[in-house]
């Protein structure tokens, strides 16, 4: 199973078992921390990009001098549907209101029946006075009622909860009857907050914007899905900057490890001198050093990478989200994108293995041209 050279390398490691063990543990932890720091924003970016593809192609809002304002449903839907390329137009009733522990997003469900896709996930639609709440919504002192304050203040009966695994989008949502939602945000009858528009082809999002804007008799603002993706990518980049700051100590720890390993290897010239005196060639010593380092580094990198995967993807990055982004109660379920994750693993492997192995080669290269007698005379750990 193992050749003689590998057995020599193992035995050399076992001459200093605690030193080898400590090096292995340190490497594992460094890889795990660095891997987690690099994987977390990547996973978040991949997850959001994937999910944003399900969002409406265009969101259209009416503007006036004070900002966004309600738009009349019938006239707006008619105007949007007349634009070539528009496949569906859905008015939305939603807003931000005050809940027991802070702001919440309310959504009025306009459809009368549960769609087939959600038949197993949703048992009933909220009647007047009832709400379905997201996983992160705390209903206050009573578990069955939720007090909301907007234009009016009212208690609602909690009839269901949205699944935890949809928290990425539904964490703070409160679903309610459209009439309740109107009353709560002060929306007149026959008006909606905005329109969610779907187009036939992805590229049409930008192409039909001018036609869409021109079809309304009041100023409107359109946000396309591509713009949203760009917006969130920008916000994630700000988060990445914070992560990069946290990576610096990790890289510093790696540099220190390499420096210590190099110094330790260089201090073993007498050992290498004895090997050369016994007839080992420089090639043999290089292979010996390679096996010696790989037998510590490879398992460490493997275990460290697995740890970082489990920390980011396994239980949900609840702790990482709390630490880096301050999400207190959110357990986002991040999605594994093999391509992106593989890039990070290769980065990690390169970042750790190359300098560590290079540090082991230095004494072998130094000893290649050195006199055997001089090498043996050097102080070392025999």
């Amino acid at each position: 199973m193992f050749n003689t050279m590998q057995i020599w390398a193992f035995r050399d490691l076992l001459r200093r078992p605690f030193e080898s063990l400590l090096l292995g543990i340190t490497l594992t932890l460094t890889v795990a921390i660095l891997g987690t720091l690099l994987l977390f924003p990547r996973a978040l970016h991949d997850t959001l990009n994937t999910l944003l593809k399900a969002t409406p192609a265009i969101v259209l809002r009416r503007l006036d001098a004070t900002g966004f304002c309600p738009l009349p449903v019938q006239a707006s839907v008619l105007a949007a549907e007349n634009v070539v390329g528009v496949v569906s137009v859905r008015p939305r009733i939603w807003g931000v209101v005050n809940g027991p522990d802070g702001p919440l997003t309310i959504v009025g469900i306009l459809e009368n029946k549960i769609p087939k896709a959600l038949a197993g996930k949703l048992t009933r639609l909220p009647e007047p006075g009832q709400v379905i709440i997201g996983f992160g919504v705390s209903s206050g002192p009573s578990a069955n009622t939720l007090n909301l304050k907007g234009e009016i203040s009212r208690n609602y009966e909690v009839v269901d909860r949205l699944p935890e695994k949809t928290s990425m989008f539904t964490h703070d949502l409160v679903l309610m009857n459209p009439e309740d939602a109107r009353q709560l945000i002060g929306l007149p009858q026959g008006y909606a907050c905005d329109l969610a528009i779907d187009v036939f082809h992805e590229n049409e999002q930008d192409a039909i914007l001018s036609d869409l804007t021109a079809s309304f008799s009041w100023p409107v603002e359109c946000v396309t899905r591509l713009q949203s993706q760009g917006l969130y990518a920008g916000r994630l980049n700000r988060g990445r900057t914070l992560v990069a700051i946290a990576v610096i100590p990790g890289v510093l720890a790696l540099c220190l490890l390499v420096a210590v390993n190099t110094r330790k290897s260089m201090g073993r010239q007498s050992d290498l001198g004895i090997m050369k005196a016994m007839g080992w060639t420089t090639g043999n010593i290089v292979r010996f050093q390679l096996y010696r380092e790989l037998s510590v580094c490879l398992p460490s990198v493997f275990v460290g990478t697995c740890l970082s995967f489990v920390l980011v993807y396994g239980p949900g990055a609840g702790w990482a989200a709390d630490f880096f982004l301050g999400w207190n109660t959110l357990p986002p379920s991040l999605y594994l994108e093999p391509t992106g994750a593989a890039t990070v693993v290769l980065e990690m492997a390169g970042l750790m293995l190359v300098p560590m192995i290079a540090s082991a080669f230095l004494p072998a290269l130094k000893g290649a041209t050195a006199d055997v007698h001089d090498m043996i005379k050097e102080t070392g750990s025999r």
Binding site: G95, K121, T166
Partner: protein
């Protein structure tokens, strides 16, 4: 008495190989379970996004600063509220109704 040779490791029980094999199998099972769970989670989330026509994720801070604990509790920071002035980023003002004066108060005028 014949002595055991010192130039080879005792690999008779293949302990290292068994440990590696078991670890790899455990890792594979864990990966398959994780991928399965995530796929289900992704599909469910997409169904809800489509049904409710959501367009803003709940997890990203959308103000000019990252979320901090001063933002009152577990709820999410602002999404694009339909009733707010475009350039107003204060947390208090994003609650519907808070931009309007309380009953009996006068509007501030320049």
């Amino acid at each position: 008495m014949k002595r055991e040779p010192c130039d080879q490791l005792d690999t008779s029980r293949y302990g290292l190989m068994v440990i590696t094999l078991v670890s790899l199998i455990a890792l594979a099972v864990m990966t398959i379970l994780t991928i399965h769970t995530h796929r289900d989670s992704r599909q469910t989330t997409r169904m809800w996004i489509t049904y409710l026509a959501l367009h803003a994720p709940a997890v990203l801070p959308s103000g000019h600063v990252l979320r901090d604990s001063g933002y009152s509790g577990p709820a999410i920071d602002r999404r694009h509220s339909p009733y707010l002035p475009l350039m107003d980023f204060s947390m208090e003002s994003i609650i519907v109704g808070s931009l309007k004066p309380e009953k009996g108060e006068m509007l501030l005028e320049d």
